[in-house]
Symmetry: C2
Subunit: 511 residues, 2 copies
Amino acid sequence: MNSNLQKAYDELLAKSKELTILQSTTAIVNWDMETKMPPKALNLRSQQMALLELISHKMLTDPQVGKTLEGIEKAPGYTEFDTVQKRNVYLARKAYDEATKLPESLVFDTAKQQTIAVGVWKKAKAAKDYKMFKPELKKMIELRQKAADILMGVKGTKTPYDALLDDFESKMTADKITKVFDEMRVGLIDVMKRVEKSGYKPDKSILSRPVPINVQKKISDAAMDYIGYDTKSPNAGGRLDETEHPFTTGYYDDVRITTHYHEGRWVSSLYSVMHEGGHALYDQNLPQAWMYQPIGSASSYGIHESQSRFIENMVGRSPEFLSYMLPRLKKIVGKPLRGVKFADFFAAVNVVEPSKIRIEADEVTYGLHIIIRFEMERDIFAGRLTVEELPQAWNEKYDKYLGVEIENDGEGVMQDTHWASGYYGYFPSYALGNIYGGMFLKKLKKDDPTWKKELKKGNFQPVKNWMIENVHSKGNLYDPADLVKEVTGETLKVKPFISYLEKKFGKIYGF
Amino acid sequence: MNSNLQKAYDELLAKSKELTILQSTTAIVNWDMETKMPPKALNLRSQQMALLELISHKMLTDPQVGKTLEGIEKAPGYTEFDTVQKRNVYLARKAYDEATKLPESLVFDTAKQQTIAVGVWKKAKAAKDYKMFKPELKKMIELRQKAADILMGVKGTKTPYDALLDDFESKMTADKITKVFDEMRVGLIDVMKRVEKSGYKPDKSILSRPVPINVQKKISDAAMDYIGYDTKSPNAGGRLDETEHPFTTGYYDDVRITTHYHEGRWVSSLYSVMHEGGHALYDQNLPQAWMYQPIGSASSYGIHESQSRFIENMVGRSPEFLSYMLPRLKKIVGKPLRGVKFADFFAAVNVVEPSKIRIEADEVTYGLHIIIRFEMERDIFAGRLTVEELPQAWNEKYDKYLGVEIENDGEGVMQDTHWASGYYGYFPSYALGNIYGGMFLKKLKKDDPTWKKELKKGNFQPVKNWMIENVHSKGNLYDPADLVKEVTGETLKVKPFISYLEKKFGKIYGF
């Protein structure tokens, strides 16, 4: 590389570093807001967040970055860049174009409408009154439609909705998703029906026996110990706190998770810790050498979700993990687990049951909740579904796919915050995470047939190492579909995930 | 005000608001570093802090601010500005000049040397090896000397050291401090000697009876309840956490304190909470109308210290507070306080005893520790004392003023971090806080003779209201000496503080 080109590349990385450090700071300030902030500080904090956002936006759209990028891309030496360098330039270019092509007024109006719509959504949901929410939702969709129209040009996608999808799942399209989701829907409904037909109803009451919160905290410790998410050693890079909705945030050496404790739903926290722990391990194990570079980030929301769901479900709800954990849980929990048999406990944490609420759904029906949302988003942005028709379309799909009857829009079309927040294109990543997870599982089995035996011994290291080597260590070198191809040698396939479900739930429900 | 001038003034306030919001964000990130941050994050955090510092410095030195300031100051309408407006312009001008007149290289070198010197100081202190520390201290003093020489011009002070003092105590000079400290030294030594002569040695062992930390936390709650520092209501603007060295940080609606718990030193936390709570009440009760303006800040370090010391000592170590608190402490603490008589407890928390370590000193001898540091700083920057001579000078003064023999430089000249950090001119504020406190006390007694009776009933409100009305509500409208004049009608006087000590300790020690 000639020295001018080297200088330009170094400059680009320096700008990227500055932006990354600022964003990692914002993550901490946001974490504080969710976990520690005194309530009176809300207004001050919203101004602090807005200022950080403004500074970040200025850095991101700094014309100097545009010039540097152009200089690099036009330089004859650019073709000799290695894969990593090219990906860094590509990612920086993508972020720059997307940020600069959206008019600031649109960005501003969207942020404002987000606050308004989320505020109204909360009230409308509580009042079960879709009419109240409708005008704000409509405005939000229109704003995102405008952004999508512009981003379609910038990103070169076929449709506006594809441009929105690309924000969460780079290069993914509605056509591709429709294809895999159609197949997944059939598979999921099939498993769900076979579960229903089996007639077996595991006793879930074990899970609602009250367990004091200080005892549940010991379960969290056991779960974090199991997966090796370190919050206690002198070199710990994580910590656990409490919020109503669990989340993960942070960067590399400072990645924090949260959980929630409910006395009468004590496994909820166990699985929140496993889920968020899965996210955290990904962020903590991105390659050190890529820290502060564009490539030093996760591949996509879907890949992130594959990691959290793998640890929550494929590990955390496996017979091997549970047979290791149950005796330990009995020691921690005491009376509420006294005399509980392994088979009953295993079945209880794996109950399959169609329900109305996504975040309470089991491993099998969860995907159906997502498919419903995806199909509706897709149709909205294709002009095939109006805001007026949403509640009815929602209720019909819930009846058709899950066989449940939605009684009001609070538990129906208004149950999630995503649409009020303007996050269209986000939902599919959840189910794509399951699909990626199924493919990773298949490959892991092949690469290391002993992994399950090790889980049973309490040894999570083989799974962790496989994930680090195959997923975490690749950072954002690939778009998600390419990463999956690179890891498994295959294009996107639903079958491994469905096979996993069939085998697991076949054993529990006897089909 | 004409519309151009109004526009310029609004612009100035907008810039000030942006800077203030950023600095309040930095305070939260710093708080996180001291209290919650996973240890592995240290390097990332130092980069985050450096970036915030850089952005803050850019805002502070923005040439547009200089132009706006000049426009305002030269406008004919400026003379018609009211006191608040003029003070805002004055404070903004002061901050701008001080920030822009120091070469960036000097600022950068000083920050770098600070990290180095503090690192070496820690090691040298542990090794009791002044020789190790000396070269770094020397460099640090030289850098601050350079800054002082420049700032002397900017601020128009008589000496370079006065320019450093001005950073902490606006318009205060070494001459003025020497005058009051000379008088204070005589007074303090006199009280100390009378205590010694009395022969009475209160039994301190009550205070070293082990009290479990979870019990001590209930004492913290009682102390916070007493002074009305709210960490628990739905509109709380504060919180309490733990750090080795207690501190207060934050802004208006988000002001947080920390304390430390040692099983065998259980009153330490009680008084840390009272002290930091005093700082916090000041910051929380600055005028709402001045939020985000230059004037919406504390008057000085010394005034801040007057608030914390007033609550820690004049309230917290008073017989009235203690007679209210002791029965409650007995309930909380149980056995360690069983059978303890009020007079013995009161005497135990008020033991006067010359010691080597500033942060462990009592109300009487504390000021002597400060005077020693002040005299040495003053003489260093006047060229009358060299870095080579520091340890000997230190030890001689400790012998002369306090009658204690320093055995090594770890417990001597290297005990504090301030000089390694380059904070010359900081120490005097601690003792000025006591002096201001004495003057406020005298005025409070006159304004509200019932205040002590109310303390005894558990009613802190009269003291708090007096402080809010007289000190907090005035924000940064006055330099500290002017504020004291405004409140008490008097110029700086040591007598009220010494009289307070004589009366209080005369009663305890019978002189």
